[in-house]
Each structure stands twice: as structure tokens, then as C-alpha cells.
Amino acid sequence: MDLIDPERARKQKTSIGTGYDLSNSVFSPDGRNFQVEYAVKAVENGGTAIGIRCKDGVVLALEKLVTSKLLKKDANKRIATVDRNIGVVHSGLLPDGRHFVSRAREEAASWRSTYKAPIPAASLANRMGAYVQAYTLYSSVRPFGITAIVGGWDAETEVDVDGAVGSGPKSGSGGKTQGVKEGGPYLYMIEPSGLYWGYYGAATGKGRQAAKAELEKLKLDPKDGECISLEEGVKEAARIIYVAHEDSKDKEFELEMTWISAVSGPTEGRHEEVPKGLREEAERLAKKALEGDDEMEE
Amino acid sequence: MAAHTLHTLPSTNPSFSFPQHAPSGAPTQHSFYPYTDNGGSTLGISGASFTVIAGDTRLTSGYNILTRYAPKLFKIGGSGPDHKGAKIVLSVVGFAADGRALQERLDTLVKLYRYQHGKDITVHACAQRLSHILYNKRFFPYYVQAILGGVDEVDGSGALYSYDPVGSYEREYCRAAGAAASLIMPFLDNQVNLKNQYEPGSVQGLEKKQLEAKPLDRETVEGLVRDAFTSAVERHIEVGDGLQMMVITNEGIEEVVLPLKRD
């Protein structure tokens, strides 16, 4: 009988752990969950994904690495719509991402059936964070091999309850307070551990370091008063993906971008693909900016 | 005193296929009744090498004409949503929603038959299958009178099957169904099955000789169908607007829609 499982032997050789990395939900003596750390490694191999929270909307962008020349161009979209107002981009193991999106859609639908209104981005991030975290707790499952960026626009207008039939009283009992404004753009990033934070700009995947460096240069804090506009955000997002791609220049990629604007903006509060014209313009500018950098270096 | 006596003759109470409100003054209990009668009539006649199925196109609800064109005849099987190459026709009259549901189920099953067996279903097998569908739902029946028509694969003769709502069925030479069935059926009995027609000049009394029914030719049949419907339209308010007629031969299905009176 084989007493040594070759697979096990391989793992022990390549990992730091001495058996603590074999099971999910088990800590190593120094307080680490190796399976989660390996999941993060899986993410680090994926194409760069970023999200930018702008003054009047959110942009999601993805460096979609072309794994085969036989794949149809601009097909096989990777950024998913979860509800009308929310989109998700992820980097890492694609099927894990699919499952994540599917669960997010269920959460959004269940929220709607309970509250008769769209799920706020913060609540979705919270629920998905809890869901992802649960996959670090049990020995029969493995953590998600993705980091997901969730972008959403919570309507700034007075949102009707789904299926509402009238506009209600203008004033008086049950009336509306004039000028009250809520909602706005939201961006969250959820990691394999289930950890999630809200961000002004988020990046994950292979080129995340370069992308983060670029994101930090942008004016994204709304308190600064000069927070970039959605359209600028689209152009910056394209440029950042191109910058992040510099390290793996030999590989081909497609730029996939979606955006969510204010209800008064171009997408009317919906998560949609960036129109072809605008995306191509952003790509043109991105390439131009890169050439400019090259020249300066030379 | 006399006011309380029964004073309505049966003939003053015309009967309709939809409920009439009784001015009884008693409170009416509202409750959901899952059926309605959408009126209209269908008929089918089989010949030596063809079958004709026809139906009017009016759809009614009470005294209302819901639409002047709602087909009661459906091609079954064939390929694609337009049933290319189909050689079976189903007609349904009664509750239109059940009719559509029945049609869709039979069509799906006939198409599945082709996928599973690699050949078209025969008319008699299809007829049996339809009976099963109806019988399976006998405790909440499809409220329809169905007539199925095609061409017999064995001898090439016209095949016509008629059904009650719970699946009892029979192969016949002719059948009328629906609102004006009681008007059309006696006419068909006389003209197709030659009922009450005797050999001219034959002895009267018990010995007199019935004319023997023979398969009719296509022109005669189509003429009978037109006559049956134009007459039914005159006497039944739920029949009219258009006459949809399908002729099934070995070559396939020919469909015509002719105008009927819209009053």
C-alpha cells in the first residue's frame, strides 16, 4: 500500500505549513489560515480588475486576458450585473466568480422581495462578505478564489417602492420632505477571507500594485471638492488598466468596462456597459498616454 | 294571487351557454370559477384521401365579441414554431385558454416523439396520446371538445377523431362540435352519412332502403363545410366573423380563411 500520498507530499514540500494548510477552518499555531492565503494567491494570477468611485457614478474595469485566439472578440462578458443598480467585477478563479455573482443576484432578489426596493450597495457588500467568510469556516469547503469589486449607485431620488401605483401625497401626513437627498455612488472590495471595505478606488489581480499606485494619484475624495467626474473616471480606468498591463505586455487582453451613473446621469442609475464609442475613445487616450510615458523614459 | 303562479313558458327562456343572472334578489356568492365558454363551432369531415377540419374564428364572452380572429385550428407537430411539414390538425372549441394549453402540450409531445423515435408520429398514435392527455386531467378537465384530423398512414384514407373533455374518443367520418354543434351535426348526418335518405322509388315502410354513405369528394365536402357555417351563423350568435378551414392530404395541410357574417 502507498503510505505516502504523492499529492500530499508535494504540498508539504511547497508550502510553509506542516499540515496546517491541508484543511480549511484550521488555524496554524501562528494564527494563519493557509487556505485563505492560498486563495489570495489564486487571485494574484487573475487579470487586473479595478473600480473607481467618482463624483457622479462608479466605473468598473477589467483587463480580460485573452486565453485563446479562438474566443470571439467582445463576447464572454466578465463584469456582471447583479441588480439594476449594481455591478460586480472579480479577479481570480472564474467559476468561483460565477458562483459569487449568482449568490449576489439571489441576495439582491431576496432583498427586493422583502423590502420592495433595490438593495443598497452597502447591504449587498455586507451580505456577500458574510457569505464569503462562511467559506473559511468549514472543512468541507474551500474559500473563494476571487476578490470581487462591487460597484453600485443607491438612487439619490426618492425611490418608489417596487410596484407602487401612485405618487402619494405632496404634503401633509405621509407627504414628502422637499430637498432631502440620499444615496450616491458606492464601491466595495471583498477578499477571499470575507474581509471587505468601502473604497474610493479599488484594484485587484495581477497588476493591482501598479493600479493602486495610479489610483492614489487621482482625486477621489469627495470632501476635496474636486472629485473626478464619471466620464473622467472612465478614461482614468482605461488608462490604469493599460498601465497595469505593462508588466505582462506579451499577453493580449481586452478592456471591459461598465459604469453606473446617477439617476440623472447617462445610465439613469443603472449598471450598464460603457458605450462602445466612449470606451474606444478612452482606450485611444490610454494608449496615447502610455506612448507619452515611454517617450519620457527614453 | 295570480302573480305567484308559474307564468313563464319554457320557450320564453332561451338558453345560452353562459350564466344568466336570475333576478331572485338573493345575495350572490362571489367565487372563482375557473372556466368560461368562448363560443364558436368546429367540424371535421374525412374523405377517401383527405380530412377537412373547419372552425369559425369568433371568440366570445357572453354577448361580447372578444375578437373576430382567434383560430381554433392548430397544426400539430412538424418543425419549428410554424409547424413546417405537419400532417395533423387539432381543433378545439369550448374554453379557449384550455384549448391553447391542450394544443401546446400535444404539439410538444408530438415534436418530442420525433426527437425520440426519429420518425413522425402516426395519426392514430397521436389520437391515443391526446386521449391520455385529456384523461389524465379528468378531475380538472380541459373544458374543450377536440377534433383531431390527419391521413391514415396505413391506407391513405382521411382519419378523423373526436373527443369529449375527459378523453373518450372515437374515429368518425364526420363530427361537429361547439356552440352550433346541435345545428350542424344533423345536417352532417343527413348529408355525409345520408341519414334519413332512402332510395328513390323504393318500397315504403320497414322495407325501404337507406342510401348507403360513401366517401365524398373534396369539392363536395368543402361545399358542405361552407354551407354548414353560413347556416350556423344565421342562427347562432356565438358563431361568425371568419371560417378557418384546413384540408389535410398526404401532401400536407392547405389552409384557407373565408369571411363569414360579422353581425
Binding site: R84, E272 | F32, P34, T67, A70
Partner: protein, 429 residues
Amino acid sequence: MNHLPHAWGRPRDDVYGHYNPSYLPTSLGGTQHISSMPTSHTQSPIVTGTSVIAIKFKTGIVIAADNLASYGSLARFTDVKRLKPFNKKCVVGFGGDVSDMQYIDRLLMSLDVQQNYAGSAKEMDEEDGGSKALMGANNLHTYLSKVMYKRRSDFNPLWNALLVAGLDEKDAPFLASADLLGTTYSAPTLATGFGAHLAQPLLRNVVPDEKAVEGITREKAVETVRECMKVLFYRDARSMPEYSIAVIDGSGVELKTDEKLENQSWAFAETIRGYGTQTVPVFVEDQDQIRTLDEMREYLPEDGLSAAMDDHPFRTATDPGEFRDIYLAAAQAVERMPKPRQLEISFDLQVDAGMGQGEHEFSYAQGATESWYQESSVDSKVGWGMFPTVEMDDQVPKAWKKVGEVKGATIELYLSEQNEHYINYRLIH
């Protein structure tokens, strides 16, 4: 712990045994009946919307429904939008139970969300150069009719009559209906509820069959539907004069939700005689003594009624459209009279000084009429014109001009200020 997330955080079956749901109602897998009664579903609608009407035109559909939700005979909600746009090429009109309408609306919303999972239709639009990516009205109708039929088959109906209006996948106009029984049908004109009795005949007059659709313009279709909404308001006690109207064609959905009925007039009512169908004589232009509508209009002072009423202490309706109806009706009445005709026209004016319709106002106006009778009946030659004011005691006002000579009848015209919608005339003998 296992790989079934559903079980996480719940008592483990192997430790605690299978969950015992017996205390739950049957709908949740238990054995308890809420009130020892069998399950009961909707047996009748509660808050209801009345008719929905729609008509096809050459390139699209017009659909309308009023904004009322009734609770029995109570006009309960007066701001209820019963036309729901699904996407850029379909609108659903709802008659029947309002809560079921809201349920279906949510169902459609989730359907739309799911439709857009694969990417928004907007983007695909641009690439295909058409709206092929959008769900067509025919498919939406099929979906809804299956929902309705399923629910009726479960004895748990959605108590609605729906009209689905829009464009199909080939961008051809599509109009069809589905009701609580799952019955489906399509026609160039459709009307649910009371509209099936009142509006459908009027709509069919304009579009008798599918062939006639080609000859109908968008404007004609809108005009017809607006006219039908008016007729429905006249006769349907569960209706209101505010309504929604949507036009769907190649350029998208144009939905207006706060329309008001215009040019209401009861003038038509006087052309109705007895019960059943009767032919009412039509106004004939080529009569020596009778002037056409346009000719008669010449005799009106330019600024219409308001000029005549300016001196009057009480204001009244000023819409020329209403007067047109009066003249038309009067002319039709004259037409019916045997020759030689003698016509006396008196205008019976009801005015309102903010006190509501009362005896005082009525007799006051009547007095004016009587005084004018005396003058005008001298030679029985009367003209058409503005109705009199109190100052008309001694002579026919200048605004009145001779139009023709008609004998043997009196026409009274009623103008009610109480409700400017009611202008009427009456043929006395």
C-alpha cells in the same frame, strides 16, 4: 459541517434530528391549518381598476386607462397609474385587482432585471442597429398569459384583465389580451371591462379589421382613444376624468400619466331616442335654410362667449369647442323637424355665483329667457348667436343674426356653469 450552505448555522440533523415542521402552516411544510379552514385563495377582487383600451395604428399602438382605483363603489385611490412600461417597446395595461397588478409589476421588474444580467439591452441595441435585443411585446404577452393560466389552474387567480401593447421582435405593432382565466386573444382594437361594451364598438368603427390598421395615423389613433376615454367617463360610474395614455412605436414609449378629459359635452345625449339602435338624422349641409357648422360659426362673435358675458356679473364657460357641440346638436334637431319650420331658440342659462346650483340662479336665467321670448316670437324669425344676458329685455342683441326660418319647435340650450362639462340642448316640441 458540510458543503451545503443552506444548512450552515442551523441545528444539525445528525445531532438534533430532523426539523419538525408540524407546527407550521401547510404552505411551509407543516400540518397546521390557520383556522381549521381549508386554504382559501382570492374569491373576488378588492381594490379595482376599470377599463383599459387600446388601438393599433400603422406603426404602433395607443393604450389608455384612467387613474382610478375603486373600493367597491368608493373612488378610493385617484392617482393610480395602471399603464406599466416594461421596456422601450412594450407597455402593459392593467384592469381588475390593484394588488394583483402590483404583484405582476414586481414580477415584471424581476424579469427585467434577469433579462439584463447578460448585459444591458441598450448596448446590444447599438451593435445590432435595432432593438432586437429587447424583449418583444409578443413574448411578454406569452409570459404573462402563462402566469395567468398557471394561477387560474391553481385556483389562485390573479384577478386582472391585461392588455399588452407594443412592438414584436420584428418591430410590427402588437396588441393582445390576457385575463384571470388565462384566456388570450389579439385584435386591432381591444378593451377590457366596461370598455368592452362602450369603447370597443367605437374603436371598431375606426379600425374594423387588421387591414384598416394601415390607414390609421398616430394622431387619429390618439384622438380616437381620447374620445373613447370621454365616453367611458360619461357612462362608467367607476371611472374618472384623469387618465394615462401611452403611445408605443419605433421611437419608443411615450407615456403620459396625468391627462385630463377635454371638451366634454352631453350634446350627443339628445340624439339618442328610445332604446336599441336607431338612426339619428345627420346634419345635412345642402339645405337652403340650414347653415353648415362653419357658416354658423361666422355668426359667433370673435371672442366667443366671453365677450357676451363680460358685462355679466357671473362668468361662465368659454371654450369654443363646447359651443360647437351645441350648434351641431341644434342644427341636427332642426333638420329633423318637418317643413315649414319655425324655430324659437331660447337659451336657458344656469349661472353660479359660488353658491352652488340653486333655485335663485335658475329662475333668474329663466327670466332672461322669457323676456327674450316675447321679442323674438313676434315674427318668429330667429337667428343664431350668443345667449342672452339680462339686459336683453327689449330687443334681440346685435350678436344674433338671422340664419334661417324654421317653424314648429323650440330648442332650449342649457349651459350649466356648475359643471362646465354639461352643455345641452333640448327640443321642446
